[in-house]
């Protein structure tokens, strides 16, 4: 739909209200929409017109492996993040305010700390001779250092760490919105805690889990920094492959085609999320 057409309709109704959007739309239109569309154009014209870039990407086993890795990591990260975040969000939603604010402080501190700083810490922590391996060996759980870095294990640990706040914070909101009376009623009717959890608490928090999980999955699909630093060369993820195609190989055609596949998948999942929870809650959750 054309923005101009929309504006035309609107100006006749509320001229003053719409004027405020002009700078924002100009910025996003000129420096976001146009460059991204130009990239799409490039994916079907560089080096020659046609769909050969997409055919190359989808037909080649090496690239297929990158797509597979990317989806696998995003899926595992999402599942682990949900499992870890749920109990924490649950506690945060009901614990005394003083305790909760300390925990919130820790979450915000980790979230606001520079992304590269946190990834760097994991690079050092997960090394062969790093603290984690040495501690595990000292305790006697293992006698050989575990390969925790330059592989998908390292990527998963680092990504779960980065994504946790994005899952915990929206989940606290949806857990707080549940009326405790429903659970009291369940207990009065004789439901065991397990039954109450399985049949009331979990179903009622499912929309929050779905929204947060989808968000984490989408963010993980396109993540660049953490996989590039904690992953190995043999299990590259999509974002790093795109960056490499453009920056090192200067293969604009393939790079923009890969970028476009990532964009389409992301936007489709985002649309699904909007349908599930609505635009405002999606945006507010971040």
């Amino acid at each position: 739909m054309s923005v101009e057409a929309r504006q035309g309709i609107a100006i006749t109704r509320v001229p003053a209200g719409l004027g405020g959007l002009v700078p924002a739309l100009a910025l996003i239109g000129l420096f976001f929409v146009v460059p991204v569309l130009a990239l799409l154009l490039r994916s079907v014209t560089d080096p020659a017109p046609g769909l050969q870039n997409y055919a190359a990407l989808l037909g080649d086993g090496t690239y297929a492996r990158v797509f597979f890795n990317t989806f696998l990591v995003a899926l595992v990260v999402t599942i682990v993040t949900v499992l870890v975040a749920f109990p924490v969000a649950w506690m945060l939603a009901i614990m005394p305010p003083a305790l909760a604010s300390i925990l919130f402080g820790i979450i915000i501190l980790s979230m606001w700390t520079n992304l590269l700083t946190r990834t760097y810490a994991w690079m050092v922590l997960l090394q062969r001779t790093g603290v984690i391996n040495r501690a595990l060996m000292a305790v006697g759980i293992i006698d050989q250092p575990l390969p925790l870095i330059n592989n998908l294990t390292g990527v998963t640990i680092g990504m779960v760490y980065i994504m946790l706040p994005f899952m915990i914070l929206p989940l606290v909101g949806s857990l707080r919105a549940i009326d405790p009376m429903t659970l009291r009623a369940a207990a009065l009717c004789g439901a065991s805690p397990l039954a109450a959890f399985r049949r009331i608490l979990l179903p009622l928090s499912l929309p929050g889990i779905a929204a947060g999980g989808l968000m984490v999955f989408v963010m993980s699909l396109g993540y660049f920094v953490t996989p590039a630093l904690l992953g190995g060369t043999s299990n590259m993820m999509l974002a790093e492959m795109i960056a490499q195609m453009i920056q090192s190989l200067l293969n604009w055609g393939l790079g923009s085609a890969a970028a476009f596949i990532l964009l389409i998948v992301t936007m489709a999942l985002y649309a699904l999320q909007l349908r599930l929870v609505g635009a405002k809650r999606t945006a507010g959750g971040v």
Partner: protein
């Protein structure tokens, strides 16, 4: 009684222990990096053989680190000003305007938040190569403002939605011009939203690395690009020192935010 903290029974210690463990997991890298920056081992051994300040000395002796930090701060400050200004105008239109397609326009303006940054990075990189804006401060500020705009619009629009417009109308009835009413009644009332927008936009630029990696030139690089380069070439403990200073800055920003919020709310 699953949602009653005092009546959780045996679940409470189990859940609390798990929560503490996750809190430790979240804090671990942050604390670890600060400890490491004072360790004397070049090879990042932990616990270190001794304690030293030499990585901080090396950091401050190298003008390229300071220059990168200043470049980042300058770009982030300009980004915050632009994003808050443009975001404020847009928020008023989105919240108060009464035109068709409002949700679509809101969605469009928030898209930079959900689009994978790497896609935007190569798109704007190619675009700026053509315009001659690659590797320039203007280029950085424009690209970062696109990315920061959603983070400015969300808190301002939320604050504006929570503000009772009839107070502004009352001021106009009492003789204020619409502009006066906005400046003297509405803006002070939504200042927490504006303040959050400024912080988030600043951080969005200050922390941004993917676009910066593509955009940086030998003469203009931001702090994240400088750290990125060092991480890829040598894992020197100087990065730990630089990182610790960033942690200190984050803490200061958090404390300032908390204090200011308290002050603004009373």
């Amino acid at each position: 009684m699953l949602l009653d903290y005092d009546r959780l029974g045996w679940l409470k210690p189990a859940l609390l222990a798990f929560t503490m463990l996750v809190a430790a997991f979240l804090l671990l890298p942050v604390i670890f990096i600060v400890l490491l920056s004072f360790g004397s081992s070049r090879w990042l051994a932990f616990p270190p053989p001794g304690w030293t300040l030499k990585w901080y000395q090396e950091l401050f002796a190298d003008p390229s680190w300071i220059e990168a930090a200043l470049t980042s701060a300058r770009i982030a400050a300009m980004t915050a000003v632009l994003a808050v200004g443009i975001g404020m105008l847009a928020s008023f239109a989105l919240v108060r305007g009464n035109f068709g397609g409002r949700e679509i326009l809101r969605g469009l303006l928030l898209t930079p938040m959900v689009l994978p940054v790497v896609v935007f990075a190569i798109a704007i990189y190619a675009f700026f190569l053509r315009l001659g804006l690659g590797g320039t401060t203007v280029g950085f500020v424009i690209a970062h403002t696109v990315l920061a705009l959603p983070f400015a619009i969300i808190p301002i629009a939320t604050a504006l939605e929570g503000f009772d417009k009839s107070i502004e109308d009352a001021a106009i009835v009492c003789g204020a011009s619409p502009m006066q009413a906005k400046l003297r009644i509405t803006l002070p009332s939504i200042r927490i939203g504006i303040f959050s927008a400024a912080i988030f936009s600043f951080l969005a630029s200050w922390d941004e690395v993917v676009v910066a990696i593509f955009m940086a030139s030998p003469t203009l690089q931001t702090l994240p690009v400088k750290i990125w380069g060092s991480l890829r070439s040598d894992l020197t403990p100087v990065i730990a020192a630089a990182s610790s200073l960033l942690v200190a800055l984050t803490l200061a920003l958090m404390v300032a935010t908390a204090l200011l919020r308290r002050k603004l709310q009373t």
